[in-house]
Amino acid sequence: MTDIFQLDGANIPFEPGQTVMQAALTAGHYIPHLCYHPEFKPHGSCKVCTVKVNGRTAASCTMPAEAGLNVESNIEEMNGLRRTLVQMLFAEGNHFCPSCEKSGNCMLQALGYDLEVHTAGFRHLYPDRPLDASHKDILLDFNRCILCELCVRASAEVDGKDVFALSGRGITKHLIVNAESGLLKDTNIALTDKAMQVCPVGVILPKRVGFSIPIGKRRYDQRPVSAQALDDAPRQADASGSCDVCEGTP
């Protein structure tokens, strides 16, 4: 017999150790998210997946599933909150979708469309974030970074390389690379690294393959992000256990 909790009125079965997000996605139910990735242990920094659990708010990606929970996700109160959080991320960085190579494959953009974020909402901060084009095969455009830490985790846990890390504090927090020069060319990153594949936005890009798939035919051009929930369902029962590099994890 499996245990069950309620998500927007639906019965969601879960395995012990699963979080609300993992159980929901496995059952084919989408909860909007950005920093969650099925292959990594969730850490709950973007807060886009915030839901109401028995009347109190919690990040669903880190909230342990429990029998009998009443989870509300697709309600205006939570979607309104998500809209604001997405607006905050847009205002924090420099996101110019029309000229971005990731347009159509970008989760932040897809979420913006799906949640119907129609206005900027906040004054943009326009931070100064220079590119790193030093590497012969890879471009880093920090302007688009949403600090989800997925590349940090992928590089440390899967690639065993620690190419990326976070630096600074508060609004000055930013992504750095592991080199005394501070340049990507002096790291041991490779095109085949897992860290190359996990960026939900357009920070880490392989050079010379831009626009090989035309805009309009890309992942989220086909179907909205909410219709692709199963693609994000946990792929490993025990998504990488320990993580001493990423923040916020117990």
Binding site: K47, T57, L166, R169, K173, T249
Partner: protein
């Protein structure tokens, strides 16, 4: 270049050896390198990384998290003015301006000769003797125009800090009212010896005393120790939270100065209760000057067999305490962030549950308590539950130290039984014409005159101890704006709502201050509050809007007087945008300004 990098790695090995090349000691190593060289060079990071087995980028990430660590040369003399509202009320801003002029320097920049930098820092815990500053991490109090001028001369003459007048560094205890805690006559080891001889159950004794945590949250201490004792784990730890960062609070500083034995005795009792062998005192970097005296007390206790192996002859009772210094991060006062920092990482709060009592330091059961809590625990055990409970109120037993600062003639430390009214404290410190009191710091409550009958205690006004007084000459909008800047500066940046939201809130408050505010902005504040309350990762984000909400509710005219009557007004200021051009051309005449059209 080779000589340069050699210079930057000298002395590193002896520091690393002192910490047994333990990667968990990274922050302590970095802090000592900062003290030795004035900054942490890339070469030093490379050297440390190779010896500790930590990637370069991760060390850079840790160093950049803490305000007092610098990755680039930051001046031989690094001057930081304490920027709490109480320092400002005592004139700190004018003093900083004076010093910048004297030394030909802009705030935040290093002088061209690399001699000095001047900036602000969050409250340094000297609110009763401000304005205060830190120079190369050393606290200086009671700043005046004259004192600032003298400091300017000393810096210009490159006088070593050790040769500066001792008077500059004097920190007063300012005890204005004492009670059972401050008046105690417990000799070091007394309580510990009595407990061991009688075989008393410490957890039971603390539970019965009704003692609740003095850090503000008020969790029952006995219950916490019991949970830690019962949690499975290979080892257990005791941590004393002396990261007293809440602006307006300074009672832990006084306890560590005068009652260090009581603190360490409490930690040792806790160790006995939970079965811990290692204890840590996490001392905020601002109290760096207390490190050597505290080390002295620890050594004395080791010599008296109150710490170390077989304490007081008890076989298997081994316990020792190490002091870890913080490096300028308010968030490390949050217990799980503090543990991350103890482990040498960025001080980011963990997701909870699990809580530190089961998964704390090195994922092992850990009891984390405030300085005053450990003192009160020792006292409660010595007095006995009945006598201890007779002090204070039903749900708040014992006494509480209050740090009084702001508009009153007698700022300092006041010990009261719980249940004392705000009015009583105001009367005792001599405050007159009081408009508002900020209870328990920016994350606490701002209350107005009609509420001065309210009582300090967990039943009504819970407090970690800060008590900032504002008289009727003060502008409560500016008070709230100072606190909002504080939260934005101290946000760790982990979660979106707090990282971005506190900056947006700061922008909005600055917009209102600049005279561009509208009703739309007040609505935006309420909206931000909702987002921060419902989705922040920890208490910092959840309370970041409190100063604004509390003052808006009670002192709305302070805001409305500043608003334009329009529904919306852009923050963009055409004339303001020319400021940089004016600075570059050295002009400030009428022709260099755009005139705002009056309509």
């Amino acid at each position: 270049m080779a000589a340069d990098s050699e210079m930057q790695t000298t002395g590193l090995d002896s520091i690393l050896d002192r910490y047994a090349r333990d990667p968990n000691a990274l922050l302590q190593v970095l802090r000592e390198v900062q003290e030795l060289h004035g900054y942490i060079s890339s070469a030093a990071i490379g050297h440390i990384g190779a010896k500790l087995g930590i990637p370069h980028a991760r060390i850079e990430g840790v160093a950049s998290f803490y305000s007092f660590l610098h990755l680039r040369p930051h001046g031989e003399y690094r001057v930081l003015f304490s920027d709490n509202i109480t320092d400002r009320m005592l004139g700190s801003q004018a003093l900083m301006e004076q010093m910048c002029q004297q030394l030909w320097l802009q705030p935040g920049k290093v002088s061209e000769d690399g001699l000095v930098s001047i900036n602000t820092t969050s409250c340094t815990g000297m609110c009763d003797q401000g304005p205060a500053m830190l120079v190369n991490g050393r606290a200086i109090t009671k700043l005046t125009h004259q004192r600032v001028q003298e400091i300017g001369h000393l810096i210009r003459n490159r006088t070593p800090l050790a040769d500066w007048p001792a008077d500059f560094f004097r920190v007063e205890d300012n005890i204005r009212r004492s009670g059972p805690l401050l008046d105690n006559s417990i000799a070091p080891g007394d309580v510990l010896r009595a407990v061991i001889e009688s075989g008393k159950d410490v957890v039971e004794a603390v539970k019965q005393s009704g003692l609740r945590g003095r850090g503000g949250a008020g969790f029952p201490t006995g219950q916490k120790w019991e949970a830690c004792r019962n949690a499975p784990g290979a080892a257990r730890h005791v941590v004393c939270n002396a990261d007293e960062g809440e602006p307006g609070t300074f009672k832990d500083r006084v306890l560590l100065t005068r009652q260090a034995d009581l603190v360490f005795e409490g930690m040792t009792l806790c160790a006995l209760a939970v079965g811990a062998r290692h204890g840590y005192l996490y001392l905020r970097g601002e109290y760096r000057y207390l490190l050597e005296p505290l080390q002295g007390v620890l050594q004395r206790r080791r010599d008296s067999n109150l710490l170390g192996k077989n304490i007081l002859g008890q076989t298997d009772f081994d316990f020792d305490i190490a002091i870890h210094l913080g490096a300028g991060a308010y968030i490390c006062g949050e217990e799980s962030a503090l543990i991350e920092s103890l482990e040498g990482k960025r001080g980011v709060p963990r997701s909870r549950p699990p809580f530190p009592v089961t998964h704390g330091y090195l994922q092992q059961p850990t009891a984390v308590d405030n300085v005053e809590t450990f003192c009160s625990a020792t006292l409660a055990i010595q007095m006995g539950a009945e006598k201890f409970r007779a002090i204070g109120t039903e749900r708040s037993s014992g006494s509480k130290l209050i740090s009084v600062s702001g508009d009153c003639p007698r700022p300092g430390i006041y010990e009261y039984p719980f249940g004392v009214s705000v009015r009583q404290v105001l009367q005792d410190c001599g405050a007159v014409n009081t408009r508002a009191v900020q209870i328990s710091g920016p994350s606490g409550m701002c209350i107005a005159e009609s509420e001065f009958g309210r009582k300090l205690g967990f039943e009504d006004l819970p407090t970690a101890g800060a008590f900032m007084v504002f008289d009727d000459s003060r502008d409560l909008f500016e008070v709230a704006r100072n606190f909002v800047h504080f939260f934005a500066h101290e946000s760790c940046g982990f979660c979106t709502p707090c990282r971005v939201g506190t900056s947006m809130l700061k922008q909005t408050m600055d917009k209102i201050a600049a005279g561009h505010g509208t009703r739309h902005d007040l609505n935006e504040i309420e909206h931000l509050d909702q987002v921060l309350q419902t989705s922040s990762h920890c208490g910092l984000g959840r309370s970041a809007c409190n100063p604004v909400l509390h003052t808006l509710k009670r002192f709305r005219p302070a805001y409305e007087n500043r608003l334009k009557s329009l529904d919306f007004e852009p923050a963009f200021d055409l004339d303001g945008a020319l400021a940089r051009a004016r600075q570059m051309t050295g002009r400030d005449d009428a022709g260099a300004h755009l005139k705002t059209e009056e309509t």
